[in-house]
Amino acid sequence: MSAHAAPVEGARARRLTERVFRIRELGIVVALLLLIAVTAVLEPRFIESDSLRNLALNASIFAILAAGQTLVIITRNVDLSVGSVLGLSAFLAGDLLSSHQGMPLILVFVLGIALGAGCGLLNGVLVTWGQVPALVVTLGTLYVFRGLAFLWTDGQQVNAETLPDSFLNLGTDSILGVPILVLIALAVVLGVGQWLRDFRAGRELYAIGSNPEGARLAGVRSQRRVLTAFVLAGALAGLGGVLFTARFGTVDATAGTGYELTVIAAAVVGGVAIFGGTGSVYGAALGALLLGTITSSLIVLRVEAFWQQAAIGALLLLAIAFDRFVGVRVDAALRRRSARRAG
């Protein structure tokens, strides 16, 4: 019947939606390149391979945490406890390896991830069954987990010299010129990104964040999905903790303090809407890379520490303003399209 006219309108709408996504992620890439270019002009040593390598290494752990955070934020929740979970798991890894020298590394990773998943499970259970807002639950567990870390470490710290070299090498070695840490982060981001994009469970997370009541009526098992998101975010924070120890060698109870805010900022800069329903893991990872690069470039340019924080804040506001602007434009365009079709 009228099917012939549909593809024309369809192609246009499709192009529009695709363009928006590209703009969002390309925008960060462009900002990133500009930033590197400008810094490189002012301070050529910034693009030496060592320096770029450090940039990627610094962003890796944040990118892993941001991937987990994205899962949670997409369901219209938030996890503020990831920094504390990272701290717990980092100390666990350091403690295990320094007291049991021969322990297989894979076991350390499994235990670190399991610890994180356990923390995430607690968050998830309180949010879904306890019906307590995630902001409150994870603010509480942020302090609880950090407190546990202080109790456990008892003022001690794990030093690099007590850790096996094979473990520390994970934080510094490369395969084909790419640091192992970066490879792990890439694998995580790609894995989670594909899960979110191409699997039913991942798509249901978007549905839950986009319209929670609608998801329930559509037969989505929301509680289970939200619980899964929290467990995965916790597990990834646990993984981040083990990698933190491998990279820095020295760990005390304060490891990862304040990471949660950087991670949420990275996700938001990367286009993950704080009210759920939109965004991608790739954007969040790029956001983490951008935030890390800004900090490094400001340090290289010997800008005072105060300005570094201000710059990150400004970037965050800019990203939100941009999203709002694009959102309004897209809404208007879609409405016009509907009206034209009806008329």
Binding site: R200, L217, A218
Partner: protein, 504 residues
């Protein structure tokens, strides 16, 4: 289909209670292939509860449900879906951020290798459904920005996607324009031809008679009538929807009716209500009747200055009110008891005393500080006058029962010595005893010369309390009935847009 086929889904004696309230009883309903059945009844007759039972949103606590003759129990909307039952709710339940295709197949995406979603198959499938429905919509477009009519089409496509044999539509036409209703009807006819059963809920009787084959009438939570549409007339149907005796609970005493106090002149708010003019005199109780969504509360909000009207104005005792200024309306002597007591009428966590005196904080304060002695004195005075049942005046208002909460809201406004009192659903959710007390109070207030405008969806209340009944239908005044000529049928007819009751 003339031979009686086996029902696709059937309810027998289904019942559901919420606490002490029996929302549904004697729920008998059968839906056969190729049947479009109307479900009609007044607001609160139990239609929504019945739909929720069928849709697996709430669990019945009595009776039987059969699908293809087999007894079933739905624990969630998921189960209803698996049984081939799709419900299209009044409120859109779509995901604005996702594409039309994903909205349709959410949770049931076609899968390719390794359980990955096969996007190409998904879009082909959904585009096929949309084409079958004869609509020009692109499956890859996000749902954000779609009109209500198009959103309903997406919901129908969703129902088709899992080959639902039973489609339940809860007031699908409420927000649609003429051509959109026509398009929906052709889709419904198409479904009927394919052997589906449709349960169609609407307040518009002309639509019911245009599209439905059979009808189920509900009243006071029970199914009271099941019949072929051909065997019924609209009059018949209205009688069965109403058909109850007027209780003597509503004792409006005669009061001397004085000069007009509230005058509403050609008030209009685009898309909500149009050209509303009426007046309320001192000592008079005027009821604003109509169906939920007819625009009654919106008119009240505009009179009180909460929403800004696009045209028209309001006069109090001959003085014109500035638009959209609630404070000015208060000063001019309007009191407004809103529909939603808990959200808009009271601050639940604040004390009874503070709630009751909230409108009077100016005169109760000295140098900007509210004196709690004066506050308590005033609150106690009103508590006594309204026979409020409370433990202590500094208990939170949330501790009180519904009826007593309403008395606190009334006290708040009566303390301002208003000339006009607007009451939106004054007795909703209040038990019978306290209801009578609220009615006695209203009657007494009118007797003392107050002009009262009451919005109510309960016909007995309207007919018992009002000196005059104004009826609204889809944003317009469709009837004005004096006390003597107002009866249930006339009010319902005007409220459902049956224009036989000409405005008098």
């Amino acid at each position: 289909m003339s031979e009686p086929a086996r029902p696709l889904v059937e309810l027998r004696d289904a019942a559901k209670s919420y606490g002490a309230v029996r929302a549904l009883r004697d729920g008998d309903l059968a839906l056969r292939p190729g049947e479009v059945r109307a479900l009609v009844g007044e607001n609160g007759a139990g239609k929504s509860t019945l739909v929720k039972v069928l849709g697996g949103v709430v669990r019945r606590d009595g009776g039987e449900m059969l699908v293809h003759g087999e007894p079933v129990d739905f624990h969630s909307p998921h189960d209803a879906r698996d049984a081939g039952i799709a419900v299209i709710y009044q409120e859109p339940t779509l995901f604005p951020d996702l594409s039309i295709a994903e909205n349709v197949v959410m949770g049931y995406h076609p899968l390719g290798r390794f359980k990955r979603i096969d996007r190409r198959a998904m879009h082909a499938q959904v585009q096929g459904l949309l084409d079958r429905l004869g609509v020009r919509l692109d499956s890859e477009r996000p749902v954000r920005g779609l009109s209500i009519a198009d959103q309903q089409i997406v919901e129908i496509a969703k129902a088709l996607s899992f080959e639902a044999r039973v489609l339940i539509m809860d007031e699908p036409t409420a927000a649609l324009s003429g051509p959109e209703v026509e398009r929906l009807f052709s889709v419904v006819r198409n479904l009927r031809e394919h052997g589906s059963a449709v349960l169609f809920i609407s307040h518009r009787l002309e639509e019911v008679f245009a599209i439905c084959d059979t009808a189920t009438v509900m009243r006071d939570g029970a199914v009271v009538h099941n019949a072929e549409i051909a065997a019924m007339t609209p009059d018949d149907m209205v009688k069965r929807m109403v058909g109850r005796e007027l209780s003597a609970l509503f004792p409006k005493q005669d009061a001397a009716v004085g000069d007009p106090v509230l005058k509403v002149h050609r008030l209009t708010r685009e898309g909500v209500f149009f050209d509303i003019s009426f007046e309320v005199r001192a000592g008079e109780i005027v009821a604003l009747a109509g169906l939920v969504g007819a625009g009654r509360s919106e008119v009240a909000r505009a009179i009180f200055g909460i929403d800004k009207p696009d045209a028209g104005h309001v006069e109090i005792a001959g003085r014109r009110l500035p638009p959209a200024r609630p404070l000015a309306a208060m000063r001019a002597g309007i009191g407004f008891v809103p529909e939603d007591r808990r959200q808009q009428g009271l601050v639940m966590d604040l004390s009874i005393a503070r709630n009751a005196t909230m409108t009077r904080t100016g005169s109760l304060s000295r140098m900007g500080l509210i004196r709690s002695v004066a506050e308590n004195r005033l609150a106690r005075e009103w508590a006594t006058r309204l026979q409020l049942k409370y433990h202590r005046l500094d208990d939170p208002a949330g501790f009180l029962s519904g009826g007593n909460q309403q008395k606190v809201v009334l006290a708040k406004w009566l303390a301002t010595e208003p000339k006009v009192l607007i009451l939106d659903e004054p007795t909703r959710g209040i038990d019978v005893g306290t209801k009578a007390e609220v009615h006695r109070l209203m009657s007494e207030l009118a007797g003392r010369g107050l002009a009262v405008l009451m919005i109510s969806s309960e016909l007995p209340e309207v007919l018992g309390m009002a000196d005059r009944v104004l009826v609204m239908h889809e944003g317009r005044l469709t009837g004005e009935l004096a006390r003597g000529e107002a009866d249930e049928e006339r009010v319902i007819r005007a409220a459902t847009g049956q224009t036989t009751a000409a405005a008098g």
